[in-house]
């Protein structure tokens, strides 16, 4: 089941310096939102706030709210471990644990209290099938995950998140550290996961955003602070941008 995610007046400051501020953005259930913009505009920080990963950085202070299915993710009753199960995150560089392929999927499941061995194995297999990796690795589940190719590693990381049955997937430039071929495979995968998950993809690749996104959010630096300058359906952003910076940005890629 996918859920609606909404940022209301969201902002983040590191030691008093704002990375981005005042972002209002609704991400409807089952849609794919692409967050684009030049580097340093706060895209990745924005993504980290959505599942409270900002709390890993000392000196980071959040303003505003993030609503998951209408409830504030920073509310007092929210259990952060449960939140991160429901909101999965994939990073730019593949980060498989230096363990076997099987343990990579097994460890988080166990951590989330899936006691039954057979169930863990079944969920791991389902997740590997979802990312199209099952056929490639089913005979070497006990080999080290680090022996996989970059693209395979990234798909393993996605499978690792999927095995937890999240409702939202956050992806931070999931293709940019991969070669073009592997990048294409991962891109198709993210698109084809379809309506089962609400997806938010940070990317610097406008062509990719255009191929996969339902909605595009453009971040831009204004007065040293990252702002959401324009948001809309993909076609509208690319065909008829309202903001002059967006227009230039989109045109630059087009030309």
């Amino acid at each position: 089941m996918s859920l609606r995610l909404e940022a209301v007046g969201l902002g983040l400051a590191y030691r008093g310096r704002a990375a981005f501020a005042g972002v209002d953005l609704a991400m409807e259930p089952g849609t794919l939102t692409a967050v684009v913009g030049p580097s340093g505009c706060g895209k990745t920080s924005f993504l980290a706030c959505l599942n409270r990963l900002d709390e890993l950085v000392p000196g980071a202070a959040v303003q505003g709210r993030v609503l998951l299915d209408g409830a504030d993710v920073r509310g007092p009753a929210v259990d952060v471990v449960g939140l991160r199960r429901r909101v999965g995150m994939i990073f730019q560089r593949p980060t498989p644990f230096p363990l076997s392929i099987r343990r990579n999927l097994d460890l988080p499941l166990r951590e989330h209290g899936v006691r039954d061995r057979a169930e863990r194995a079944a969920r791991a297999e389902a997740a590997l099938r979802d990312v199209g990796l099952w056929a490639e690795v089913k005979d070497r589940l006990d080999r080290p995950a680090l022996a996989l190719s970059g693209g395979q590693q990234q798909r393993l990381c996605i499978a690792r998140a999927l095995a937890l049955r999240p409702e939202v997937l956050l992806l931070d430039e999931p293709c940019s550290a991969l070669d073009p071929l592997a990048s294409g495979v991962v891109e198709d995968l993210v698109r084809d996961l379809g309506a089962r998950f609400t997806r938010v993809v940070v990317t610097h690749n406008l062509a990719q955003a255009r191929r996969i996104a339902d909605q595009v959010a453009v971040f831009w630096v204004r007065d040293g602070v990252g702002r959401l300058v324009e948001v809309g359906p993909t076609a509208a952003i690319f065909e008829d941008p309202q903001d002059p910076d967006t227009a230039a940005y989109v045109r630059g890629i087009r030309g």
Partner: protein, 284 residues
């Protein structure tokens, strides 16, 4: 062309000096180790390693002394490894690299590492032998060694924990894993070779130590009956034979050879572990 001559001359002279220095260093050490080999090798056999010393050490072997040494090291490790590992995990995982507490702890570790070993001996004598009433005993000596090895163990363990790529930690947290299980299931296994190398280095430092042991674990060269007995470490044995026993030089050389070989083996093992560590992380 004439102007170019001078720098070239200087470069050649400098090269000569540089090569000379390196050769002198290697030569001096070849001399030391060669001497040890020549003087000691003929005497080291199985009987030497197992027999008790006789005639104040002029004859016989080093059996009980090796046993005492082993017990000292074991006590040192049993105390220093859990403490050191705990402190390193605390430093690497729960204090920011630039935070005030972390800086304070690290600074005091540096000072601790710089404290002369003889002062550790004084400290161990007061605290363990006198205040805690353990007397001259293997336990006192081992605890003193643990204090000495701790800074080394903590710093290497912290460094290898910090060398684990941050992406690993981040993605584990993003999967909703708790901090303790991140440490237990991911960081410790990933850092294991580095941790091991640190422990081995600590053992090496303890094994090489003499000054801190003379007035904590004592001189007695019998086979110790308990850890509250006094016992003589191999390094103390060498010191005693060469300084206090006229005619003890031969056995001292043999003992020194045993000690050096043990240390080389230990350091080699540590280098091996570190090498594997580097490769493991390099594979990413």
């Amino acid at each position: 062309m004439r102007t170019a001559e001078r720098p070239r001359w200087r470069g050649l002279a400098a090269a000569g000096v540089v090569h000379g220095a390196a050769l002198a260093v290697l030569g001096a050490f070849a001399w030391i180790l060669g001497d040890l080999l020549v003087a000691g090798l003929g005497q080291v056999d199985w009987a030497f390693l197992t027999a008790p010393p006789q005639d104040a050490g002029r004859a016989g072997g080093v059996g009980p002394i090796l046993a005492s040494t082993g017990i000292l090291l074991a006590i040192c490790l049993v105390v220093a490894v859990p403490l050191g590992l705990g402190a390193a995990i605390f430093l690497a995982e729960f204090t920011p690299a630039e935070g005030r507490l972390g800086r304070l702890v690290r600074r005091s570790l540096d000072v601790l590492a710089g404290v002369p070993s003889i002062v550790f001996g004084l400290f161990g004598n007061v605290l363990f032998c006198k205040t805690l009433g353990l007397g001259f005993s293997l336990l006192s000596g081992g605890l003193t060694l643990a204090c000495m090895a701790l800074p080394l163990i903590i710093r290497t363990a912290e460094a290898s924990l910090r060398a684990v790529p941050p992406g690993l930690r981040q993605s584990a947290v993003a999967l909703g894993m708790s901090r303790t299980s991140v440490v237990r299931h991911l960081l410790l296994p990933a850092a294991a070779p580095g941790l091991l190398a640190g422990f081995v280095l600590g053992v090496g430092r303890a094994l090489a130590e003499t000054a801190a042991l003379i007035f904590t674990s004592g001189y007695v060269d019998r086979l110790p009956e308990s850890i509250l007995d006094s016992g003589r470490a191999l390094s103390v044995h060498i010191y005693d034979l060469s300084m206090n026993v006229p005619g003890g030089d031969h056995r001292a050389a043999a003992s020194a050879l045993v000690l050096v070989v043990a240390l080389l083996a230990i350091n080699g093992a540590s280098a091996l572990a570190m090498g594997r560590f580097g490769r493991r992380l390099g594979a990413r």
